[in-house]
């Protein structure tokens, strides 16, 4: 339905373009130089007038119609349904919608609900017809208005350019809206969550078992939402990952920028960057099905107790994933150290490794720290590897051979599966998301600052 409407609108707009252009030729008496702008601009002007207002109204309508209809249907429900508590009412509304869409319904539909579904269907038909009428007439009105307005003195180019510039500006603000959207969405749900669970208990509690608080009458009373085990698990796995990624990434970068021949570099650098392009789900699969059993076998052979979903396996594989991240960032940083530093050291008789260790690394240190911080933030936010290879049990332990869980794993587990949206269990996921967002944001801001300062130092 919607696609036909959009298609109609597109056809109308292109028609408007030609009408506008021809009109411009007509009012110019065939001499383009009489016009303020090129005829094409008059065409675009007409097309924009035809399509844009209609499109805006269409977007608004589509966004509002479902909730409006739902409200009307709910208002029309018989009182015994209408006065149900909010969550039960929600179920009823869901049933009605399912009926309308021809899906399977949870229970045998009672007549009131069937009637409501009919009502819903009728309203929808009315709404859709009205939408067609409104949109098409709006488009035609816009077309007529702008077609009439075309005159040699109309500054069509400026008008069109204003609109295009407006589009550019609006596009660029989308980044801000996204950030605001993220902040608001996690913040609101988190605030709701903190009404159930005190923020101090969430941040400093040592027990995490959201499953215990599932029953509605138990809300907030005995649910264990202490996130410390998640934080420690996240730290443990990220720590292992950094132990792998930092030395290997840094040494690779140093070798590639200071020792490697151009040919070796041309081959090895992209080969290493393949690691960055592999989807994380692939790493997760490899960690869960190959690395974890391998570590377990080795551990058992050495007489160690190894969990089948050990932190070590997830951490190792995550570390490998981050290697190219560390190495390419460090590479940039090391190359930013001026050649004169190296020359000064070589001229004193230092070997390459002495120069690297005593001059290059200290000089590049702030930049390298910045890159490592970015890598840490990447490790903390990584999801698929840990979802697939780390466990669900929230153990508070520093043992890399034990199973731990992380913030991201818990967000995924809490939000996949069927549950009511407003239960503390799902809200907890948003609180975790808030923590995750805040920490990575802080890390990123610090890292970007440090790296930028460092760059300026050598510019």
């Amino acid at each position: 339905m919607l696609s036909y409407l959009l298609l109609t609108l597109a056809l109308l707009s292109s028609a408007a373009y030609y009408l506008g252009r021809n009109r411009a030729f007509a009012v110019a008496n065939g001499h383009i130089r009489n016009l303020h702008s090129l005829p094409g601009f008059y065409g675009s002007y007409t097309a924009l007038w035809c399509g844009l207002p209609a499109l805006l109204v269409l977007a608004l309508w589509v966004a509002l119609q479902p909730s409006l209809i739902t409200d009307l249907v709910v208002a029309g429900l018989p009182p015994e349904l209408h006065d149900l508590p909010a969550d039960r009412l929600n179920l009823v509304v869901n049933d009605i919608k399912n009926l309308v869409n021809g899906n399977i319904v949870s229970s045998a539909p009672n007549p009131a609900i069937l009637e409501a579904a009919n009502h819903y269907r009728n309203l929808r038909v009315i709404g859709n017809s009205a939408l067609w009428v409104v949109i098409v007439s709006l488009a035609l009105a816009g077309l007529a208005y702008s077609w009439n307005a075309i005159a040699p003195t109309l500054r069509a180019r400026n008008r069109v350019e204003q609109i295009v510039t407006l589009f550019l500006i609006l596009s660029s603000t989308l980044a801000i809206f996204t950030t605001v959207g993220i902040v608001l969405s996690v913040l609101f749900e988190s605030i709701l969550f903190f009404q159930h669970v005190p923020i101090t208990e969430f941040l400093f509690g040592l027990q995490w078992s959201p499953q215990t608080a599932l029953r509605a009458d138990q809300v907030g009373s005995s649910g264990a939402f202490g996130a410390i085990p998640l934080f420690s698990g996240t730290l443990l796995i990220s720590g292992i990952a950094m132990l792998v990624a930092v030395p290997i990434g840094l040494m690779s970068a140093l070798y590639l920028s200071e020792y490697a021949t151009p040919r070796f570099r041309a081959i090895a650098k992209p080969a290493l960057e393949i690691l960055a392009g592999i989807p994380t789900v692939v790493y997760g699969f490899f960690a869960a099905l190959t690395v974890a059993p391998l570590i377990r076998q080795i551990g058992t052979a050495m007489g160690l107790q190894v969990a089948s979903e050990s932190a070590l396996a997830a951490g190792l594989v995550m570390g490998v994933m981050i290697i190219p991240f560390v190495s390419s960032l460090s590479d940039d940083v090391i190359n930013a150290v001026p050649q004169s530093m190296r020359d000064g050291s070589y001229a004193l008789g230092a070997t390459k490794s002495e120069t690297i260790k005593r001059v290059l690394l200290p000089a590049a240190l702030p930049g390298i720290v910045g890159s490592i911080l970015l890598a840490v933030s990447r490790a903390i936010g990584e999801t698929m590897i840990v979802v697939m290879a780390a466990g669900l049990s929230a153990n508070l332990t520093g043992n890399p051979l034990a199973a731990v869980t992380t913030v991201t794993v818990q967000i995924v587990t809490l939000l996949t599966g069927d549950q009511e949206f407003d239960s503390p269990k799902t809200l907890a996921a948003f609180a975790l998301g808030l923590v995750l967002f805040t920490i990575t944001l802080i890390l990123n801001i610090i890292a970007l600052r440090v790296v930028r300062k460092y760059r300026e130092q050598y510019e």
């Binding site: 021949t261 020359d343 000064g344 070589y346 001229a347 004193l348 008789g349 070997t351 002495e354 001059v359």
Partner: protein, 296 residues
Amino acid sequence: MSTTAIATDLGLKPAATAATASRSVSSVEVTDYDNRQTVGKIVVDNAKMICRGVNVYYGEKQAIKNVSLDIGANEVIAFIGPSGCGKSTFLRCLNRMNDTITTCRVTGQIKLDDDDVYDKSIDVVQLRARVGMVFQKPNPFPKSIYENVAYGPRIHGMVNTKAELDDLVRDSLERAGLIKEVEKRLNEPGTSLSGGQQQRLCIARAIAVHPEVILMDEPCSALDPIATAKIEELIDELRENYTIVIVTHSMQQAARVSQRTAYFHLGDLIEIGETDQIFTNPKHKLTEDYITGRFG
């Protein structure tokens, strides 16, 4: 008249034929130095470094053409010439700093005392400890003043105790004429100093390893006149203990600090001799044109 045309007029090899000429030179002509066109006496009695038939190529391009000259012990020798004449390239051959450029190839012979600098048995680490270098732009390491000077002695294992190192650092700073200015702030970063001070710090850093020869690549070009004067004064004092090779494009500077001067032009060594003679009575037309300011 273009410079190439001048060169042809004077019977010099034009640059275009350099590539073909180089092949014959590379294998031979360590003894061929008498035949080349350098005007003046290239040989000295107490030579510290001896260069014979040196050619330098960057890929296909020849940057230095069959240059031979001696560098006397405890003398200051200046290399002058217009930009791109190869004087810096030649300087960087003397401690093999050109090794860092992969396309660069050097043929001929350069000797430091009795050691052939380009011999396989020569360790470039050791060579550079013996032949120090100061660069055009001051390049102190991003460390403290103390650590900058201590860097060389540390990597070469020259001292065993902290006290010895302290003495060595203070002594080097004193020889570089910097001690009074930095005595109280040895732990501040080297980059906090002024340009002239930074350059003297780099000189202190170079002499801390007790090199035999110090190469200076336009050491004052980034400095103001007062700082330049200080460095020139310092060079004169250092001559007592070191052999100094200085590249400069200030002819006045060459005249002030050096005993001998060599004039390079398009990769050729045109003329070499006592500084006084070069500046008052140049024998070659090109040298005369350059020092009278006709080009450069």
